[in-house]
């Protein structure tokens, strides 16, 4: 009998520390499925961020480097410059990427660093217990926004659309936003990851896949409610799709189609 669905080889068969319904685990699986399909397990290095996914290195069966909170793109820059033939994954949460590490992601993207950022946007600080993130939606409650995020009255500012912010930079070549709240979105997200990883291995510049991800624990929801909330509240603000695609591979595909 042919095995059509199994556990990815590069993901260790152990139980994760993530809460039930958490998006991180699904995203780990997508990453490792792509790595297996590309056959690059022994050429992959992950930079696991300070955040709930700090333990990602326990689950991935390849090398890892762990730098301070927010400095993930700087660390990934160092790794990738020394190991240009490796798949370097810069895994980041929204606090890591869009608050404490804003400078690092902007400049890594602008330099066109040839690694891929997997940006897990769960609109909250998961690990530290549900504080407001730069991506927390207007009105969304957090321990540090007890009455909901109030951009003007309480001076909490607005949720940041990271893909759109990085789109203007010359060094960013591929920016896509997916979600893991249902099977269709999950499948599409996997395609984005594959496209980004392949572009990286061709040396095409900065690539990032933002993934809207559930944090039922800190959203105060049941897992099922949380996937519905991604659909009802997050996706209308954070539009899914390929926000920027300047990959040479894609340009060739367009040329081919136009022939």
């Amino acid at each position: 009998m042919e095995l059509t669905y199994g556990h990815p080889k590069s993901l260790l068969p152990i139980q994760t520390k993530y809460c039930p319904g958490c998006g991180h685990g699904v995203i780990h699986r997508l990453i490792t499925e792509v790595i297996d399909e590309m056959g690059v397990q022994d050429h992959s290095i992950i930079l696991n961020p300070v955040g709930c996914s700090i333990w990602a290195s326990l689950y991935f069966d390849f090398d890892s480097v762990q730098v301070p909170h927010g400095r993930t793109p700087a660390g990934a820059t160092g790794v990738k410059r020394m190991k240009p033939d490796h798949l370097v994954i810069c895994y980041q949460g929204d606090g890591d990427l869009a608050a404490i590490g804003t400078a690092e992601i902007v400049h890594a993207a602008n330099r066109g660093e040839k690694f891929t950022t997997i940006f897990v946007n769960n609109a909250i600080y998961g690990m530290t217990g549900g504080q407001m993130a730069p991506t927390t939606l207007v009105g969304q409650k957090a321990t540090t926004a007890p009455y909901g995020r109030d951009p003007i009255g309480a001076g909490m500012g607005y949720p940041i659309r990271v893909c759109e912010m990085l789109e203007t930079l010359g060094g960013s070549k591929y920016l896509a936003r997916g979600a893991v709240n249902n099977a269709a979105n999950t499948r599409k997200t996997k395609q984005y990851i594959r496209k980004a990883f392949e572009a990286q291995m061709r040396g095409e510049g900065f690539t990032m896949v933002e993934i809207l991800s559930q944090c039922p624990t800190n959203w105060g929801m049941e897992p099922v409610e949380s996937v519905e909330w991604v659909e009802s509240d997050m996706i209308p603000f954070y539009k899914l799709g390929e926000i920027k695609d300047e990959l040479a591979g894609s340009a060739n595909a367009v040329k081919e189609a136009g022939k």
């Binding site: 930079l47 090398d63 890892s64 400095r71 790794v79 410059r81 020394m82 690092e104």
Partner: protein, 353 residues
């Protein structure tokens, strides 16, 4: 064999030494008084097709160093005091993950933005593990352009050998002044020690994780204890110092870097007056030559610490003379450099001569 002498600024000499030591990647952010070093690295690293990045900040630079160092590459960053403060989180992580790298601090006066003139107010930060947590790292203090080049060249080997950051603490005077310097030949890459712990090196081994996180307190304690055993070993073999006129000296001046040059001048002036002064110059600030300090204390010497600060290294002099000796202090700060005459006057005051 050493080559012919060249006239060079300390900053450029440290850059050339790093290139010859086989530095694979340099990451830095502009700050005075070390800018010539970053510019030197830009030109010579790019010429040699090695990695040079002008980072967006010192914070980014030290973490690029961490990432590149994690792959086993020879890496360096340089900065001056305020920038080195920003690097401290990254240095703590590098110490926690045992990632070798070279950090040059061409220090200036502080606290705060301070001034761009030379100072030695970063002694505590450098020798006490300037970031969070329990750790130390190598600190080397050159007194001349030649020594700045030699110690930078050697720092790469020491960092690799002991698996930790090696800091060259050169004050702004050493960075800015020009002196004759000759360089050792480029290091043969074949002499580098193996780094089986590095990432991205081989597929035929268990995975490597370069991190400083530990889930289990007992396991974490064991890792820290093992690191401190390494420190104890280093204290036995690494301390380095220079002595002048020590044997019959009643008063031993203790100074490093630029203040050691001044103190040497003052000792020579004192000797001409028949005053028995000597100089003890630590070259390794961490590990401090504590054993030798203790011996000098047992020999009944008095000590005068001379620093370009309000008094930081003097605490180590007190510590390692174990309360057996009289320890005096003379310092200038704010970017001022002590004069030989002022130090001589201090010697005369102490010895009442």
């Amino acid at each position: 064999m050493a080559e012919e002498k060249r006239l060079m600024k300390g900053n450029e000499a440290m850059g050339e030494a790093a290139v010859r030591a086989g530095c694979d990647a340099y990451f830095g952010y502009p700050i005075t008084p070390q800018n010539e070093l970053t510019a030197y690295m830009a030109k010579h690293m790019l010429d040699k097709k090695r990695t040079f990045i002008q980072a967006e900040s010192e914070v980014a630079a030290i973490n690029m160093v961490f990432g590149a160092g994690a792959t086993g590459a020879r890496v360096m960053t340089s900065s001056s005091s305020p920038g080195v403060s920003l690097k401290q989180e990254g240095i703590s992580y590098a110490c926690g993950a045992d990632v070798p790298c070279v950090v040059i601090n061409v220090s200036r006066s502080g606290p705060g933005l301070g001034g761009i003139s030379p100072a030695q107010g970063d002694y505590f930060q450098s020798t006490r593990g300037g970031g969070h947590g329990d750790y130390y790292h190598i600190v080397l203090a050159p007194k001349s352009v030649q020594e700045a080049a030699d110690l930078t060249y050697e720092a790469f080997d020491l960092a690799d050998q002991w698996r930790m950051p090696a800091m060259v603490l050169a004050d702004g005077m050493i960075g800015q002044m020009m002196e004759g310097v000759s360089f050792k030949p480029p290091k043969d890459p074949a002499t580098r020690i193996a780094k089986p712990w590095a990432v991205g090196t081989s597929s035929n081994r268990p995975v490597n994780h370069v991190d400083s996180t530990h889930l289990d307190p007992d396991e974490f304690e064991a890792v820290n204890r093992a690191r401190f055993e390494r420190y104890a070993e280093m204290k036995k073999v690494l301390p380095r110092y220079e002595e002048h006129d020590i044997d019959d000296a009643e008063l031993v001046l203790v100074a490093y870097g630029t203040s050691a040059r001044v103190s040497y001048g003052a000792v020579q002036m004192a000797r001409k007056l028949g005053i028995k002064a000597g100089l003890f110059r630590p070259i390794t600030l961490w590990p401090f030559p504590e054993k030798r300090m203790g011996e000098l204390a047992d020999a009944g010497k008095k000590f005068l610490a001379v620093e370009m600060s309000m008094g930081q290294m003097v605490e180590d002099v007190r510590l390692y003379t174990h309360g057996k000796s009289e320890v005096f202090f003379y310092g200038r700060c704010g970017g001022n450099i002590p004069t030989e005459e002022a130090v001589l006057a201090e010697i005369q005051k102490i010895l009442k001569k």
